[in-house]
């Protein structure tokens, strides 16, 4: 668990630092583009939160992808219940909706998986890892829901276990095998994250075709300038919408 978290954290930070340090000497944004930094911020926000470009491309892919990501973000937030003691009020308020969010996540992933298997164009570009990754992701909500429905997991024990992790004094975990599976899949994905296409999450913040502003006639990118066109918006790397 610790190893997975460490690999994930340092892997991602390393990659973000590399992206930030790699120069973007020329402007390659896709037009029409905003002319101001505020405009760029709004464009990026629409991309990150709403997946605007994907929507333009294919409504079905967008629907499943967005359902998947939104469901995942929601359940991640609800998982704060295991880390906060006493559970924050607003997290508590979200708990009843968690079932719906998990189901959305599963439906979204299933939709993407079906598309990958049955649309000839998408099948043609898929490597084994592309299917495998979706299967892993599918495993998360499936085990999560199974735990609720099939086992009588002691969730206060889970809270104790999670807080033990956070306080760096891990306690032995007790529980059903499905819980172990749930956590194991998450760990595997954390480890894979910095070395795979999951890098699209930090990567999209650094995509020059989206995060530059349309001011090339006014500035010279080869010289350090006050307006700093090549600067990236949202380099925090914390990926809220993903």
């Amino acid at each position: 668990m610790y190893v997975a978290l460490l690999i994930f954290t340092f892997g991602i930070i390393r990659k973000i630092v590399v992206y930030a340090r790699t120069p973007q000497r020329l402007n390659v944004l896709t037009m029409p583009a905003p002319r101001t930094k505020a405009g760029v911020f709004i464009r990026m926000l629409k991309e990150v939160v709403l997946f605007e470009s994907l929507f333009k491309s294919s409504v079905w892919t967008w629907f499943f992808a967005w359902l998947f990501h939104a469901g995942m973000v929601f359940t991640l937030i609800v998982h704060l219940r295991y880390l906060t003691n006493p559970t924050w009020v607003w997290v508590d308020a979200l708990i009843p909706f968690n079932k719906i969010a998990s189901a959305c996540m599963a439906i979204g992933i299933l939709g993407l998986l079906v598309r990958r298997c049955f649309v000839d164009r998408v099948r043609a570009i898929s490597a084994p890892s592309d299917y495998l990754m979706l299967v892993f992701f599918l495993g998360i909500p499936v085990t999560g829901i199974a735990m609720r429905l099939l086992t009588n997991t002691d969730y206060s024990a889970v809270t104790e276990f999670a807080q033990g992790i956070v306080q760096l004094s891990p306690k032995p975990m007790s529980g059903h095998i499905i819980l172990f599976l749930h956590i194991a899949i998450v760990c595997i994905l954390l480890v894979i994250f910095p070395f795979s296409k999951l890098l699209h999450a930090p990567g999209m913040f650094f995509s020059p075709s989206r995060n530059q502003s349309d001011n090339t006639r006014e500035i010279n990118m080869s010289k350090p300038s006050k307006s700093g066109t090549s600067s990236t918006s949202g380099t925090s790397g914390i990926n809220h919408g993903e």
Binding site: Y19, Q24, A127, S207, R217
Partner: protein
């Protein structure tokens, strides 16, 4: 123009309704036979590239890939981020026209990405089969040459990619790597060498250019009785016009040049062409070489200084405007010797549009009442540059000029214009005769859109503002049952509608 295709023509498919283009079933290897002539050693060496495939090509190619990834953030992000979601798979005109799965943008990128994975990612080093990583073999190199020369770098895919991945950047990187190991493309590299040696893509030397321009002056005065000038190397002019060399004699380009000259004449703006920078095109972009792009761009600065002009204006050329708009200042700047009142550089459409708004020129649209026109947005203007200092000005300004010059204007279906425009099929250094099959098939989506607007409105002409589009359409229109002369320069329309009055 009798064109008997030696290949199977794609059919129009269902007519476009609401801009939905028919997506073909995939046909593996449908275009594997299509590749441009390779550059001879002379053409290679003229640009400082090895004359032929070097002995240690594999290692040099891998090292060059590493250098590019380290020095180009976009490329690195693009190679890492693709989730193969498939959003781009039905967006490329070459895929839509051929069905070859390697012409799906993601598959084209994968040709390079599989090698990047193998050498520069942990997953690809240890689990190549699992993640789709491949060594750079001679077969892979051949695939690179074939399919990175079936990309016109039009960037339509990047509009639809949720991460903005631009296949154009990937294909530029691949072409750069291939040039570095001695595998160059004849057409592009020959053209770049000609620009360095003679000053323009067509290899038109200064005396011939002067002659041509003189001929144009005679033609115009004969036709309309107005002494419109076509100045060359005139010191102290206000405007230096940089235009694609096709404008000097090819049809329909030259009518565009006549249009610019008429506008300058009527507005009383002194202008000149330059014999050392007698070319707007910058094929350095196509081969992904920043060095070449810079060398070509610097000529323009030198010409501007030498002639003592106050403004630089670009003629109708798509990729040239991309390079000018985005890179001229960065690669060849600063341009502090020019008049800061005007954007540097300006597009001729911006100049004419402003003159029209200020009332300094008058257009009489009824002159063009015999025409019913539509407008083809050129990819590099639409998706890689701007106009007028306003968002989407590259769409609204040309249309404003067309509407002021012609009473019958009709749009092609949605999803085929503006940022979603389809490439003409000849951009990105592919405008060469041996690629005619690719060019004809790649034009299919645009031809479907044209057919659709033509069926509804009986279109006589398609107007455009790019030299490559004009040449490409002149060639491919007849394959689809249109006439080769149905393509018009925007400034021909403007020039014809221009009302000449005595200068006060």
């Amino acid at each position: 123009m009798a064109n008997k295709p030696t290949f199977e023509m794609p059919d129009f498919g269902d007519l476009l309704e609401g801009g939905v283009v028919t997506t073909p079933k995939i046909k593996p290897s449908a275009m594997v036979h299509s590749e441009p002539y390779r550059a001879s050693s002379d053409h290679q060496q003229a640009l400082g590239f090895p004359g032929e495939l070097i002995d240690d090509w594999h290692d040099v190619a891998i090292a060059r890939l590493g250098e590019l990834v380290k020095s180009n953030r976009g490329l690195q992000v693009y190679l890492d981020s693709c989730t193969k979601c498939g959003a781009c798979t039905d967006k490329c005109h070459y895929f839509l026209g051929t069905g070859d799965p390697n012409n799906m943008p993601v598959a084209r990128q994968e040709l390079l990405r599989q090698v990047y994975r193998r050498h520069y990612t942990i997953a690809g080093k240890y689990f190549p089969k699992l993640v789709g990583a491949k060594d750079l073999t001679e077969d892979v190199l051949d695939e690179w040459y074939t399919y990175f020369h079936q990309c016109s770098q039009c960037r339509r895919c990047s509009v639809y990619c949720p991460f903005g991945i631009d296949t154009g950047e990937v294909s530029m990187a691949a072409r750069d790597i291939m040039n570095t190991i001695g595998v160059g493309q004849k057409y592009t590299n020959e053209v770049v060498a000609k620009v360095h040696k003679i000053g323009n893509n067509l290899g038109l030397p200064e005396p011939a250019l002067a002659d041509t321009l003189e001929g144009l002056e005679e033609d115009v005065i004969e036709e309309i009785g107005v002494p419109v000038k076509f100045p060359l190397d005139v010191q102290g002019s206000e405007v230096l016009l940089i235009t694609p060399s096709a404008d000097f004699f090819a049809e329909p380009h030259v009518d565009g040049l006549i249009g610019y000259a008429k506008v300058f004449h009527q507005a009383g703006i002194s202008w000149t062409l330059s014999s050392i920078a007698s070319e707007a095109a910058n094929f350095g972009l196509f081969i992904g070489s920043e060095d070449q792009m810079k060398k070509i761009a610097v000529r323009i600065r030198e010409a501007a200084i030498q002639l003592g002009v106050k403004r630089i204006v670009f003629g109708e050329c798509g990729h040239a405007w991309r390079v000018a708009y985005n890179y001229l200042n960065t690669l060849a700047g600063p341009f502090d010797f020019l008049d800061p009142k005007y954007p540097i550089p300006q597009h001729i459409v911006e100049v004419t549009h402003e003159l029209m708004q200020q009332g300094r020129i008058l257009l009489d649209a009824s002159v063009n009442d015999d025409k019913r026109v539509t407008f083809h947005d050129s990819c590099n203007v639409a998706r890689a540059s701007g106009m007028g200092g306003v968002v989407s000005g590259q769409f609204s300004l040309p249309r404003a000029l067309i509407k002021a010059s012609c009473n019958h204007f009709h749009e092609m279906p949605k999803g085929t214009t503006g940022e979603a425009t389809f490439c003409c099929g000849g951009g990105g250094g592919l405008l060469t005769d041996e690629l005619v099959e690719l060019r004809v098939k790649g034009a299919l989506p645009r031809m479907q859109a044209l057919k659709s607007v033509d069926d509804n409105h009986d279109i006589t002409h398609m107007v455009t503002i790019c030299a490559i589009c004009k040449s490409q359409f002149t060639k491919v229109l007849p394959y689809y049952g249109f006439q080769h002369d149905q393509i018009l320069s925007l400034h021909q329309l403007v020039g014809d509608a221009l009302v000449f009055t005595e200068h006060s």
